[in-house]
């Protein structure tokens, strides 16, 4: 998994609550059997008009916002489906962190497995960030994962929560599957127990 330590970037504002995974990447692009090329379909239906041309008024298309690494979004970002295509599309486009007041559970779990950091901030900080970006599109913040701090333009620091395990995995670029595989003896011991439900499924 891609490592994450610190990141300084401007913030692309997307002031919409409950941005669901069907907006992040519409279902019709999920017929692919690979992970590649999904950046082209990120926010597809907000991004392109009926004939497939980029809409100039959608922020992702604006030349001045290219290269930005942080998305500043409304509450409950990533609600809806379990598609991991959502964080794949976001990271392939170039995002490495998302700022919001809250994230949907499955999206958050998927994002953390792909080196995309969901940063939860308070309502006050969230509102302030939108104000800062509105006043100055160049306003940049720094995310430091090790100290779990977000440094605002002007130097004020706020802390954000990350669970210890995800933090470790992100800092070291460790993937979870490798970690679980190391616990094979515990899994075998569990499977050997008589009181588990495992045996209720008959072989077909």
């Amino acid at each position: 998994m891609a490592q994450f330590t610190t990141l300084t970037s401007r913030m692309m504002p997307m002031p919409v609550d409950n941005i669901d995974t069907d907006q992040i990447i519409p279902a019709r692009f999920l017929k692919t059997i690979s992970k590649e090329g999904l950046d082209k379909q990120l926010f597809n239906d907000w991004r392109y008009d009926a004939s497939g041309n980029p809409k100039p008024d959608f922020i992702l298309n604006a030349p001045e916002w290219q290269g930005v690494r942080i998305l500043l979004a409304g509450d409950n970002f990533g609600c809806g489906s379990s598609r991991e295509h959502a964080p794949w599309a976001l990271t392939q486009w170039g995002f490495r962190a998302i700022l919001s007041t809250s994230f949907a559970d499955i999206f958050k779990s998927n994002a953390l497995k792909n080196g995309l950091v969901p940063v939860v901030v308070s309502r006050e900080v969230h509102a302030k960030l939108f104000e800062l970006v509105a006043a100055d599109a160049q306003a940049a913040v720094t995310i430091d994962l090790a100290s779990q701090t977000l440094t605002l333009p002007g130097g004020a620091k706020v802390e954000f929560p990350v669970d210890a395990f995800s933090k470790h995995c992100l800092l070291e670029g460790v993937d979870e599957l490798g970690y679980i595989l190391q616990q094979a003896p515990a899994i075998e011991a569990y499977e050997a127990r008589k009181d588990v439900h495992l045996n209720t499924l008959q072989p077909s």
Binding site: D17, D22, N76, R83, E84, S102, V196, H197
Partner: protein
């Protein structure tokens, strides 16, 4: 005496494989359901690492999302969908996973075939790369959706790293009025708590109105737990659960069945167990519900009016509602009943089982779908299709002018060619009304099969009780 526990805690405790300082718990998964959309990259991952599927017999696959609902004698026309369906089948063969493929007489929506075949059982942990996995919670299982990286982890290890969720009691007491359904219970709950209301929680639905529901209705309620932000939602097993499961192909037989039932009877929440959160609703007061906006929390009684963004004080909330109404092209303050509709869809893992089809057919019998409306009825599984045909429901639908199709997700997710045209309105029995969910530019009103069928006849959003 030990501390009283909720069913959610009992399920959790019995599946902990290992706990390590500074890491989430390692949890065992009893049943892993797999479908064509969220699995190919996971199988590719296994191959790249040279790993096998740890327990192929606790894994089960079917194809449903990008699968056409046209007659099975026809080929899959979309080459990308065809490649995906075929990839699932070849992956299952390579890794020894049982599956109900495209041509199987048992194929169907993954959350419909699990219970139908008795794969889903009380006391299990069930996962699938699909957020509506909570459906299986209707059987007293801890069932939740996972991403593709986690699909790979479960394939390889039968385990997942998980943090314990908060317990959220959803009490619904009283009796539903005639014409009010399980779908209306869950739409009313989500309208009340919002689409993020259950984030970090597992719902336990309980109370007299929940006990009174059939197993199919319980699945409808649990199905939409994710729409309230909860990763899982469940209902403790009872005699109805055991009656439903008895004799199903994958459940234990004879003495093993009796032993299983004895074990399952210990699952319900102990008296006096505490929940982290609680909400209660009065079933007597519920009305048929419908959504007007672009997330499932934007719901009102079918006789209600479209809310006004200017009544909201939070600027972001106000803008989000205004954006939704712009997309839906609806006027604040106007009733939704009477709004013209172009398409009616009866189907999806929320409402495509026998009782849903019977309810829709009951409204349609002897009537005609409005000539301005295109109505599609898509059974949840091929098994259901055969049973509906044996009961003559297909004739009712066809004579009314509706299209009766093969099993699959169909217009719930619009991946298989069944979709709305830009600007069209649908009344749909599915679970999501996100922008473009049923086709780019399409607009969705979520409702029960009764409301859907009544709206198909009238050609406008209609309360079935007033038809």
């Amino acid at each position: 005496m030990s501390t009283p526990r909720t069913i959610i805690e009992k399920l959790w405790d019995s599946h902990v494989v290992a706990e390590r300082e500074g890491a989430p718990s390692l949890i065992y998964i009893d049943l892993h359901l797999v479908h064509e959309v969220t699995s190919p990259q996971a199988f590719a991952g296994l191959r790249a690492r040279g790993l096998k599927v740890r327990r192929p017999r606790n894994t089960f696959a079917t194809t449903d999302h990008s699968t056409p609902t046209t007659p099975r004698s026809l080929p899959i026309v979309d080459p990308i969908a065809k490649a995906q369906v075929e990839r699932l089948e070849s992956n299952c063969e390579e890794f020894g996973i049982p599956y109900f493929g495209f041509q199987s007489p048992h194929q169907g929506i993954v959350h419909v075939i699990g219970p139908e075949n008795g794969l889903t059982q009380p006391g299990m942990t069930v996962v699938c790369g699909d957020s509506h996995t909570a459906t299986h919670g209707a059987f007293g299982a801890l069932a939740f959706g996972i991403g593709t990286s986690e699909v790979e982890m479960v394939l390889a290890t039968q385990c997942l790293l998980q943090r314990k969720s908060k317990t959220y009691e959803v009490r619904v007491d009283g009796a539903l009025k005639p014409g009010v359904t399980a779908k209306d219970i869950i739409l009313a709950l989500i309208a009340r708590i919002g689409v993020g209301g259950g984030t970090g929680c597992v719902f336990e639905y309980r109370g007299t109105a929940i006990s009174a529901l059939s197993m199919e209705e319980r699945m409808t309620v649990c199905n939409m737990s994710i729409e309230g932000g909860a990763r899982a939602g469940l209902i403790a097993p009872d005699d109805k659960t055991y009656q439903f499961l008895a004799g199903k192909p994958f459940v234990p037989k004879d003495a093993a069945w009796d032993a299983a039932v004895e074990r399952w009877k210990k699952l319900p929440t102990d008296p006096g167990a505490a929940y982290d959160r609680t909400i209660s609703m009065d079933a007597n007061e519920l009305e048929p519900m419908i959504t007007f906006g672009t997330n499932p929390g934007m719901g009102i009684p079918v006789s209600g009016v479209v809310p006004d963004p200017s009544s909201l004080s939070d600027p972001l909330e106000r803008d989000s509602l205004a954006k939704a109404l712009r997309y839906m092209d609806l006027t604040p303050g106007k009733p939704l009943a009477g709004q013209p509709v172009n398409v009616v869809f009866v189907g999806s893992c929320t409402n495509s089982r026998m009782s849903d089809l019977r309810a829709a057919a009951g409204v349609l019998k002897g009537r005609k779908v409005n000539p301005k409306v295109r109505m599609m009825v898509v059974p949840g599984s091929m098994e259901i299709k055969r049973q509906a045909e044996a009961e003559g429901l297909d004739k009712v639908f066809r004579e009314a002018g509706a299209d009766w199709r093969e099993a699959g997700c169909s217009m719930c997710i619009a991946m298989n060619g069944d979709q709305l045209q830009p600007g069209e309105y649908s009344v749909s029995t599915s679970n999501r009304n996100f922008e473009g969910r049923q086709g780019k530019g399409g607009r969705t009103f979520l409702a029960s099969p009764l409301t859907a069928a009544a709206s198909a006849i009238a050609g406008v959003v209609t309360d079935a009780r007033k038809l």
